[in-house]
């Protein structure tokens, strides 16, 4: 990258450019710096510069991450363990439990009775993957997805585990995955943020979400996830006040620009010109965002695919459909959080409803992207922050039980974006307690996601407090076997 060229392009933003360079930000960050995107706050006007510069040819351009917040049980979804049903009520052998630490919720439990899935399992598709009866729609797309049954993590409680998944560290104010991608790749759409967040809540036990999960951390705040919501203000403060129409806003901005220009003539501060640009971009966003949020133009067959809930704002199904629209419009990272998977007790009843809540729309999103030819370039991820124990938390009865948090193994699935379709990766022991083949650590998962977007997780760094930080902290290996 020719520095003179950059400086030429960035003439009146030279100050920030230099401060970035002086922080030792590498070429990757320069990529995003060059982006004439809305949320970069950078002022490359409408220059025709290419978007971010990946380290190598990317398989995926965008990510949609359907986070199942609360930790869905792998034993009632994708990790079939008939042995557990056979051993119903028997004690978990100490040899298997090993030194696994327990949460405060079961640490004092005197027995650890094994319990199998109340829901049945069947094999589906050419891959013959086992999927529980709670996920009839997901089972229909089984040949499009890659199920990873060997995920494992370090945290055993929600807050740190979620934070670990999203930022690579259990504590601390580090940038979230979407913020890293915004930083590394910039935005594809100059009227929309690179990183958007959609929240919903199911019927099950909820665990809350936190804005630190979409934080920019020590990166500039332009990389922060922007929360989109249903209702009249899909983005905070987007809607003009009652009584003001678009023409009024235009007049206001014209006058404002003229006044700001006078100020620029006086002070010569490039930030003033930048401010004028930011107002223009805000104005464009006021049109672009509501267009995206409007689901009324979606054809009936699409509505049918996602299910009737997708017309109810704020539901998971509506968010899935919106995720497709945002992604289709070039939003780099769409992060969904769906609360309600924390089944410590009353699991059979709760998880049935919770699964029903997400199954159809999750599968529909994959099929919808596929029929639009977008699945190849969109990485879709479905999963929670850890797994659940193979023994019952609380009293075990023939038809009721609960499961506590379990970090040693859990299942997620991925689709599109250069991930091998129709495979099952990794294996757990017959009691579903430990990974016995092809373990995938959270940092490995993160490294793989970045890899699919053309970014080397060891190169995407930011220097802060004298240290170069990265999403995968100090570890992480790309899981090559699941990449096509």
């Amino acid at each position: 990258m020719n520095k003179n060229f950059l400086e030429h392009q960035l003439n009146f933003n030279r100050r920030r450019f230099l401060s970035q360079l002086s922080m030792g930000v590498g070429g990757v960050a320069l990529g995003s710096l060059l982006m004439p995107d809305l949320f970069s706050g950078k002022n490359v006007a409408e220059a025709n510069l290419s978007p971010g510069i990946p380290d190598f040819a990317p398989k995926a351009k965008r990510v949609i991450y359907m986070f199942q917040n609360g930790a869905p049980s792998q034993l009632e979804s994708f990790d079939y363990k008939p042995k557990l049903t056979e051993m119903f009520g028997q004690e978990l052998p100490a040899s298997i439990r090993g030194e696994q630490r327990l949460t405060g919720m079961t640490a004092n439990q005197s027995t650890f009775p094994l319990v199998g899935s109340f829901a049945g399992f069947k094999q589906y598709g050419q891959s013959g993957a086992w999927i529980s009866d709670l996920f009839p729609y997901t089972s229909k797309i089984v040949d499009d997805i890659c199920i990873v049954r060997s995920m494992h993590t370090e945290a055993i409680n929600h807050d740190p585990a979620l934070t670990f998944f999203q930022t690579g560290a259990q504590q601390g104010n580090r940038p979230s995955m979407g913020a890293w991608l915004s930083y590394g790749l910039g935005s594809e759409n100059k009227n929309l943020p690179a990183f958007t967040v959609l929240l919903s809540r199911g019927v099950g036990n909820g665990q809350g979400v936190y804005s630190k999960l979409w934080t920019n951390g020590f990166l500039e705040s332009i990389h922060q996830g922007v929360q989109f919501s249903s209702g009249e203000n899909p983005v905070l403060y987007l809607k003009d006040p009652d009584g003001m129409n678009r023409e009024d806003r235009r007049k206001m901005l014209d006058n404002l620009a003229a006044m700001n220009q006078l100020s620029y003539d006086k002070f010569g501060d490039p930030e003033i010109t930048s401010k004028i640009q930011q107002y223009e971009m805000a104005y464009r966003m006021q049109t672009a965002v509501p267009e995206i949020m409007d689901l009324s133009s979606e054809p009936d067959n699409v509505i049918k695919m996602y299910g009737p809930d997708c017309l109810v704002p704020g539901t998971y199904a509506a968010n899935c459909l919106m995720a497709r629209k945002l992604s289709e419009s070039g939003v780099r990272f769409v992060q969904l959080y769906h609360q309600g998977w924390d089944q410590h007790g009353n699991l059979p009843y709760e998880i049935t409803k919770q699964a029903k809540d997400v199954d159809q729309a999750s599968a529909a999103l994959v099929s919808d992207l596929k029929q639009r030819g977008l699945l190849d370039e969109t990485l879709v991820i479905w999963g929670g922050e850890f797994g659940r124990t193979n023994f019952s938390q609380g009293t075990l009865t023939p038809d009721n039980y609960g499961r506590d948090h379990h970090p040693r193994c859990f299942s997620i699935w991925m689709a599109g974006g250069g991930i091998k379709p129709g495979i099952v990766y990794g294996e757990t022991d017959e009691l579903g307690y430990n990974v016995i083949k092809d373990p995938v650590h959270v940092h490995d998962f993160q490294a793989t996601v970045l890899n699919q977007l053309g970014l080397d997780h060891e190169k995407l760094v930011y220097k802060h407090l004298g240290r170069r930080f990265r999403l995968t902290d100090v570890s992480g290996k790309v899981v090559k076997d699941i990449i096509s």
Binding site: D159, D248, L465
Partner: protein, 765 residues
Amino acid sequence: MKINHLLVLVLSVCISIYTLNACTDSAAQGSEMPDVVDYNFHVRPILADNCFACHGPDAKKRQAGLRLDIAEEAYKALKENPTKHALVPRKPKQSEVYLRLITKDAELKMPPIDSKLSLTESQIEIIEKWIKQGAIYKPHWAFLAPKQAPLPDVDDEDWVSNEIDYFILEKLENNHVKPNPTADDESLLKRLSIDLTGLPPTTQQMDAKDNYEKQVDHLLASPKYGEKMAVYWMDLARFADSHGFQDDSYRSQWPWRDWVINAFNKNMPYNTFVSMQLSGDLMPNATKEHILATAFNRNHKITEEGGIVDEEYRVSYVADRTNTFSKAFLGLTMECAACHDHKYDPFSQKNYYQLFSFFNNVPEKGIESVVGGPETYAKKPFIKITKGEVDSLLQFISKKDTNELIVSVMGELEDSIRPTYVLERGAYDKLGALVFPQTPESVLPFNSKYPKNRLGLSQWLFDKKNPLTARVFVNQIWQEFFGKGLVKTPGDFGMQGALPTHPELLDWLAVDFVNHGWDIKHLIRKIVTSATYKQSAVISKEKYEKDPENVLMSRAPRFRIKAEFIRDLILASSGLLNQSIGGPSIKPYQPEGLWEGATSGRGILSIYKQDHGFDLYRRGLYSFVKRTVPPPAMTIFDASNRDQCQIERLPTNTPLQALVLMNDPTVLEASRVLGAKLLENKHPLKDKLSQAFRAIVCRKPNEKELVLLDNYYHLLAKSMTKAKAEKLLKVGEYPIKPQLDKVQLASLMQVIASIYNLEETFSRT
């Protein structure tokens, strides 16, 4: 062995290593080859960034037994090849350090290819020249106690107002740059008022045309000064109104915030101010006020998530205190040594846990209670504050109707001392060697006369020989008034931090500050009465091209004011501002559904219950901070989420900020209320517009600006209907006088709202 070496390096380097463009601080600073290469300013930044991770202080990760951060070690014969030396003074061609940089042999090349690091040509030249000149090492500048250098000679003595200016002007003259002329009175008053009180000058202040010194006296004496300073201190002290994890329920730490405001207003000396917060409970004859001050170290996040491992979290609280202490008061990144020896600075992991042990004796738990009623608003140890105390000893606590308040504070275990161990890889359950309270000797050894507790730690911190304490604080204050510190990494005075732009000035101010009894107002007065501070903020093209970062300070910096002060300016200029000081945090207008959408439904903070009446118009520093959903109008303007100690905010310029100022009810209501006030007076329209502009921008508009405003008003009035006006006026809860002409008011309101959107309005110019 070489391959092995590389492998170990790749596996071990905890810092992910990469720069495509090796434009580090050093390169940015030294665009020209210096005549005399200085270790601290030219060489060390290069070595620290590229070499120390494997050839530095971290003993476990050290490669080939070679240390390049200490002269004697670097001059020694190489352990792996005793015929060779890493450094041979004056002989680069015999120095392996240089030879390994220029070699074409990929096996020998340093830094190793796998590290993804590389040096630029000019960096290699600097190393070469340094070796030629004798490869002279110097101790790290920040670890040597500051000394007051004589004031430098300058040509233009007339420009100088006080000592600061000598140092600034010397550098300007050396670079053949002239300082900007003094700013005009209006700009200067706005700057001073915002910098000292966080509020714009009132119309009366603008009309008074007092001389500058009188304005300084007046503003420094204003109780608003304490509120302004508290904002910075609340970031540093990670103050918030919620516990911070998961359900993130309420905590009642705000009496500590009131104490901080009061302490700044009383101009409590910095050493007392900090000592009370670190160790007030251990001081002889400690009063309730002393104990309240220690809430500083309990402002960190505390979990209420059922099922967590108690010790894991308790350890994290101690670590938070340790990290905050290092960053806030010493400007050090000690936290890097929590898991291993520091990679760049001379702190071992043992040093870290020795410091940690000062904070490890608190009778606290990782989790004391889950989300619940008032008894959970503070965690043990806490103090109870009664109404009687608020009426007598603790009058600065602003809540007269209270029965009893509880505040989490510091304390010590009574019968025992909790042993502290080095925690291997920082894991709470991997206990290593037993350690005892001790401070890092590379900064200043712990005087054996000091008690080995937090009280002794405060004494060590304010020991006159401590090289960091005064410098770090002076730098923080400089940053408050110039947007950036003299050391532009205020949290890192270590090897990887930025070097001071004006080292002699920093030291002069630090020594002067200590000599004046750590008098904060003395320091601030010195800064704001300097000619440097009073320069205009106009950026000429020439200066911008020569010095875009304004490193030389040939002009006043121009920067957006903090989020809290944006709110303050809106409320003050419209006349809505509630002037009361302190008290429980308040909940102003906020977009609907934010708390509700992010909660599990537990606790009193699961629903946002907006305040009403005069509480809606409190200053920004009183806005309620729920850590997991901080107030968006604040964070969009780069406010801290109060997760951890923070001593600088990264300013951004984004469209979301435009949306806030265009559509936040706070702005629209203020526009309506100011409009109504102006409509009531009988002045002609242009005067009204001029008054609005002056109240908000803090100067009179010029003719061109007035014409634009006037035209805009008429454009609006032309298309304004009564129906439209009524809709526009329906914003905010502050009542409207019914007799006012709605069409006129709505038009005027729109013009005023546009003034609130001017770039200049929220710029410190």
